[in-house]
Structure formats: C-alpha cells, structure tokens
C-alpha cells in the first residue's frame, strides 16, 4: 500500500515504513538508544531528501524518548540538575551544528562531512564497546566478580572551578566539562541527524562517572528536549518535517520498543553492549565503504534549497 508524503513529495510503502519503525524501535527499546543513527541513513536510502530525513527522525526520537523518560521518572532514575546543565551546553552546540550544516551544504561537502563523522564516531564507539564488553564477558567466564570501577581517582577536569553537587548522580564536579559534553553532543547531533544518546551515555558513564542507573534516564530527558526543539526549529526554518512520515515511524517505533525492552531484559547486559557495539561498528563500516569504493557514477546532482 503506497501513501504519498506531503512534505517529502514522494510515495512510500506504508508497511515498509511501519516495519522500519518497528525494527528500529525494537533496537532502541532493547539498548535504550534513540536509533537516529540507524533511521536517518535508512530513510535517505529510500530516496527521502537528507533534510526531511534528519528533521522527521528528530520527531520520532522525541516520541520514543518520552516513553522512556516516563518510566525512569517513576523510578526517580534521572538527574534533573545534570540534564539542565547538559541542555545549556547542548543548545549552543545545536546552533553551531545548524550553522556548520549551511556552510558545508554551500561548499558541497555536507555528504562528506556526514559520512566522515559517522565513520569516525561509530567506528571508535563500536570498537570501544566491543572491547569493553568482551573484557566483561571474559571476566565473568573466568568466574571473577564484575567490579564496578568507581575509584576516587581524580581526572584533570576535577580541578576546574564552578563546582556543583549533582545529588541524584552522587557526583561533585565543575559544570565546565558538563557543558562541554552537552555542547559536543548537541553539535554532532545537529550535524549527523541523531539524538546523540549513543554519545551521551558512554560520556556520562566513563568520563563523569555517573551511576549507570541514572545515566539512561538523564540522557533520554536531554534527548527528548533537544529533539522536540529540533522538530520545531526544522519545521519553522526549513519546512522539512513530514508529519505523515513521522506518524508512521512513531506508530511502528512505539510497538517495536515494547518488544525490544522485553527482549533486552532476557539478555545479559555485557552481551547486550557487545551486540550494540557490533551494530554501531557495522553502520560505521557501511559509511566507510561509500567513501572508499569507486562510485558507479562520479557525478551527482543536488537541488539548491530555496529555489522555486
């Protein structure tokens, strides 16, 4: 069954889009991620213009992260103060990312920048996750206890001023690194068309030493606010949010996320991280192939935005 998308200006198969929503929703429910890094490339592959894909995926991520925020809120497993500080940086980063996109688009290098950032980030994060989970699996196999590393060791940024106590997270740190992480995640999120959960979660766990139980809820709240704001901004400035496409993705996503969450509870957490690491690495490799393999046609055409 085909349905015409009023903003993307092309017909798509309803069941294909719903299926994509379910599949990505399943993974996001399983791993507690937004799934933008999977969904945005998939939509572009279907022929939807990158501008519409990025904008509409932000709507989808806002919906899927709200479900998560509610359940973490009921369990009091999120840190409002930390989220607010991350958002303060995130908004600046998003503005910078939107500016960089317009510059790169004019220079014709937006595709390259998106591909390179996907390759670099997904490559690094994928490898790190696989290595870390492999160590964890190896440790449990040998019967050793999994020790949660929370030493009192002080990193260099603990010497910075403007210290703040985040009660829920049980950390006492300067807000400067928090702002920096928020800015960086907001910046990359805008450029790559992703929520940035897959960046924020490891940054909070490994750099800021925030307890894992609080991290996911807090990251979801940050993602919710930035993606809801991104939806409004994209709609107001680029008119690139397709509500029909968003509706189908959200419908599939909400259903898929429930099954994903159930499946996720049956798998050990280090195996879950290994699986996510493999998926992240594979998407990164796919982008690397596109850069290295000789293209079938070295020419490509690109309509100039704002033309009649």
């Amino acid at each position: 069954m085909l349905i015409y998308l009023p903003i993307a200006d092309l017909p798509v198969n309803v069941f294909l889009i719903l299926g994509m929503g379910v599949a990505v929703g399943f993974l996001s429910g399983m791993f507690g991620i937004g799934g933008g890094f999977l969904l945005t490339p998939l939509l572009i592959f279907l022929g939807i213009s990158p501008a519409v894909a990025v904008a509409t995926v932000s709507t989808h991520i806002a919906a899927s992260s709200l479900s998560g925020v509610f359940s973490y809120w009921r369990r009091r497993a999120l840190d409002l103060a930390l989220a607010a500080m991350l958002l303060a940086g995130g908004l600046i980063g998003t503005g910078g990312g939107v500016w960089l996109i317009s510059v790169l688009r004019a220079a014709g290098q937006l595709d390259l920048a998106i591909s390179l950032s996907y390759v670099t980030l997904l490559g690094i994060i994928g490898v790190l996750m696989i290595a870390e989970s492999a160590r964890a699996i190896f440790r449990t196999r040998r019967g050793g206890r999994e020790t949660l590393r929370r030493p009192g060791s002080h990193a260099w940024f603990h010497g910075l001023p403007l210290k703040l106590r985040f009660k829920q997270s049980r950390i006492y740190v300067s807000v400067i690194p928090v702002w920096a992480i928020g800015t960086f995640v907001g910046f990359l999120g805008a450029v790559m068309g992703v929520g940035g959960g897959f960046l924020l979660v490891p940054a909070l766990i490994y750099l800021m030493r925030v307890p894992t139980s609080v991290v996911i809820g807090t990251a979801m709240l940050v993602t919710l606010v930035t993606m809801a704001a991104a939806t409004v901004l994209h709609a107001a400035t680029n008119r690139s949010v397709d509500v029909v496409l968003a509706l189908m993705l959200m419908l599939g996503g909400v259903i898929g996320a429930q099954f994903g969450a159930q499946a996720g509870q049956r798998i050990r957490s280090e195996q879950l991280r290994m699986l996510l690491g493999l998926i992240v690495l594979m998407v990164g490799l796919r982008f690397a192939l596109g850069l290295v393999v000789t293209p079938e046609d070295p020419y490509s055409i690109q309509p100039i935005e704002g033309s009649p």
């Binding site: 009023p6 806002a62 998560g68 850069l291 290295v292 393999v293 000789t294 490509s300 033309s307």
Partner: protein
C-alpha cells in the same frame, strides 16, 4: 547571446510567415489541465489529442508529418558535482551550476528525433533532449555548453534515472494521417507547479506549425492541507508535530506500562 538573437529572429520570421500563407494549423487538447496529488498518488498519465488542419497547398504532405511534444515543468536550481579521489576518499571536487533547468522535461515524438530534420534545424528549434538549452554558470559567466559536456550529460543522466527527464520516440501515435495522440507520463516524484506543453509539427524536415498549452500539478485534500500548513503556519505546524510526538510517547508508556 548570438544564438539567442538568432532564435528570436527565427521566431519573428516564423510569425511573419504565418497568417494566411501558412498551410497547416495545429489544434490540440489535453485530457486535463489540472493533476491532483492526493494521498494515493503514484504517478499519472495525461493524454494530448491533436489534429493537423491543412489547406489545399499542403495536400501533398499529408500523412508525412513528424510531431514533437515538449513538456517542461517548473524551473529549479541544481548543482552537478563530480567526485574525485583525494587521499583514498571520493570527494566532491568540481561543480557546475545549472541556471533554471526545468524540473521535468519530456520530449515525445512519433519517430526518432534525429530522423525528423537536419541536425542544425533540430538545434535551432531546440528539438530533443540533446538540443534543449541548459545554461550553466561557470564562475560569473552564464553560457550554454555542447551536448557532449560531461556535466550536462551527467545532469541529464541523473534526471533520467529519476524518471523526470525522458525522450520517447514512440509516445506520439498517429491515429489517422492528420490526427494524433500523445501520452504524457508523470512519475510519482513529479514536482508540483505549472507545466508547459509545446507541440511542433514538422513536414519534410521543416517546422510548419507550433502550438502551446499548459497544465498544473497541485496537491489536493489532506496532502494540500498539510503542505499548506507546513508552508504558511510553519511554527504552529512544528509545535503541533512536536505535541503529536509527545502524545505518542505518552500513549506508548501508558498502554504498555509494565512497572
């Protein structure tokens, strides 16, 4: 510039030559002047009917007509990029800006374009995809390049692959020696806007008559409502979409509440 001046001169001469002395006249009619895009739109086909009215002086030519229908869509601005290998990566290196090419271009005829008239006539009357004017901006100059220009070829190739540019030498059917029908195929990704249809009649390699008509492609119903809201009330549309997302997220957590 010289080409343009020549074309203008030709047009004026043709107009002067018209009137009472002209032997053939074209009468054309489109099956519809308005194509509506609704939620089940997957493309459309328009039919153009035409008749050649000939007076006594043209009697000998009857049945030997060549008809070329050129359909052009709304204009857009396009950049064509060429990738080159830099440090092992394929990177966009060179670009050409095409100045206002049509977003849709179909050249329909009843025989191969090259067989209709001599090459220099085809060029003069802009018949066929090869001879359609696609000016490029190189630096500050705007100029027309040859049909063999690699950027032009790549542009036409890409638009053809999208189904938006086409040249079909079997899309015009002669029903009788003086009555014809042309099928205009519009793919699902066809842009909305105003379309021009120009019909040229050739006899013995010479242009003897031309006629134009037009149609429009617009969104209708729900599609029109959404597109209009997104364009005219962008902020409200964005807020409504965000609210919808929050509603979906909330519903999801209520319906599937497990804790």
């Amino acid at each position: 510039m010289r080409q343009l001046a020549l074309a203008l001169l030709a047009a004026v001469l043709l107009a002067a030559a018209g009137g009472p002395a002209r032997a053939e006249r074209l009468v054309i009619s489109l099956s519809t002047h308005r194509v509506l895009i609704t939620s089940n739109f997957t493309g459309a086909e328009l039919t153009l009917f035409g008749a050649v009215e000939a007076d006594g002086t043209a009697a000998g030519r009857a049945g030997n007509y060549a008809i070329v229908v050129t359909v052009t869509g709304p204009r857009e601005s396009v950049v064509t990029w060429r990738k080159e290998r830099v440090l092992g990566l394929w990177i966009n290196e060179a670009a050409r800006f095409f100045v206002d090419p049509p977003s849709y271009l179909a050249v329909l005829s009843n025989r191969p374009v090259e067989a209709i008239a001599a090459p220099e006539r085809l060029r003069r009357y802009r018949v066929g995809l090869r001879h359609f004017v696609l000016p490029q901006r190189i630096g500050s100059d705007v100029g027309e390049t040859s049909a063999e220009d690699p950027f032009r070829e790549a542009f036409v190739r890409a638009k053809t692959a999208e189904g938006l540019y086409r040249e079909q030498s079997n899309a015009v059917t002669m029903l009788t020696p003086s009555l014809f029908r042309a099928a205009i195929t519009l793919p699902a990704n066809v842009p909305t806007g105003d379309y021009e249809v120009e019909v040229k009649l050739f006899a013995e390699g010479a242009l003897v008559a031309r006629e134009t008509t037009a149609f429009e492609i617009i969104k209708a119903g729900f599609e029109q409502f959404v597109a209009h809201a997104a364009r005219e009330h962008a902020l409200a549309y964005g807020l409504a979409t965000a609210a919808l997302a929050l509603l979906f997220g909330w519903l999801g957590s209520v319906i599937f509440r497990r804790d």
